[in-house]
C-alpha cells in the first residue's frame, strides 16, 4: 500500500523552509526519501530505520515517528537546487517491496 504524502506542491523563495510529510496505514520498518528532477531518475537522500531517528546532511533532515507511522522531511534555508519532486518510499520488513508516495513538487524561486 502506498504511503500518503503532503502537501502535493510547495512554492518557496530562496532561503525559506519547508516540511514534507509522509504517513502510512501499515507498520513502517523504514522510510526512504528521494528527490527527482524532471526527466531524471530519483536520487537517494536518506533512510530512517528506527522510530525517533533523525538524520540530516547540509540543510535537509528527516525524522521518523514509528508509532505514528509517519516521517517528515525538513528543508531549511532552501536553495534553487532543492527544486524537484520529493518522494517518500516505504517497504516491508526486508525492504523488498518499496512503494512510493505520490510525491511533493517543490519549486524554489530566486
Amino acid at each position: 500500500q502506498q504511503p500518503v504524502q503532503s502537501p502535493q506542491a510547495v512554492i518557496l523563495r530562496e532561503g525559506e523552509d519547508a516540511v514534507i510529510n509522509c504517513s502510512s496505514s501499515k507498520a513502517l520498518y523504514s522510510v526512504h526519501w528521494y528527490r527527482q528532477k524532471h526527466g531524471e531518475a530519483p536520487v537517494f537522500l536518506m533512510i530512517l530505520l528506527k522510530g525517533g531517528e533523525q538524520k540530516g546532511h547540509d540543510k535537509i533532515s528527516a525524522s521518523f515517528n514509528e508509532k505514528k507511522q509517519q516521517s517528515s522531511l525538513y528543508l531549511t534555508a532552501s536553495q534553487l537546487s532543492y527544486s524537484g519532486t520529493y518522494f517518500c518510499g516505504t517497504g516491508g520488513h526486508n525492504n523488498n517491496d518499496m512503494r512510493f508516495g505520490a510525491g511533493t513538487r517543490l519549486t524554489v524561486k530566486p
Binding site: 520498518y29 531518475a41 536520487v43 518510499g89 526486508n94
Partner: protein, 113 residues
C-alpha cells in the same frame, strides 16, 4: 561509473508490437525492481525479484512480464503495448534488508505510436 544501466534510454514501439526493456547492475544486489512512472506521478511498483523469487504486484497487468536470467540482468517484456503503457520505466536495485537504499537506473522512456 553507472551501477544500474538501462537500455535503451528511449524506445518507440508500435501499438501491439512486443517490446523488451533491459536493466543490468554491477552492484550484485539481491533485489531488483521495475517501476512504471507516468508524467507527474509517483513511480508505481510493477514487480520485484528477490534473487530468483518473482513477486508480482496484484494490479500489474498480465501484459507485463519480467525475466531475471541471472543476478546482473533483468528484463521487462510488454507483450502488446497500448497507448496507456507509454511511460518512463525505472529499474532499481537494493540489497535485502530495511536499511538499504535503492539505486535507480536512468530509466527508459517508452513511446507507443
Amino acid at each position: 561509473d553507472a551501477m544500474v544501466i538501462q537500455n535503451p534510454r528511449y524506445q518507440v514501439t508500435q501499438f501491439g508490437k512486443p517490446v523488451t526493456l533491459s536493466c543490468s547492475q554491477t552492484l550484485n544486489h539481491n533485489v531488483m525492481y521495475w517501476y512504471q512512472q507516468k508524467s507527474s506521478q509517483a513511480p508505481k511498483l510493477l514487480f520485484h525479484y528477490y534473487d530468483k523469487d518473482f513477486n508480482n504486484e496484484a494490479d500489474t497487468p498480465d501484459n507485463f512480464q519480467s525475466r531475471r536470467p541471472n543476478t546482473s540482468f533483468c528484463f521487462l517484456d510488454i507483450r502488446s503495448p497500448g497507448l496507456g503503457d507509454a511511460a518512463m520505466y525505472l529499474c532499481a536495485t537494493s540489497r535485502v534488508g530495511s536499511g538499504t537504499e535503492a539505486f535507480f537506473g536512468q530509466g527508459t522512456r517508452l513511446t507507443v505510436v
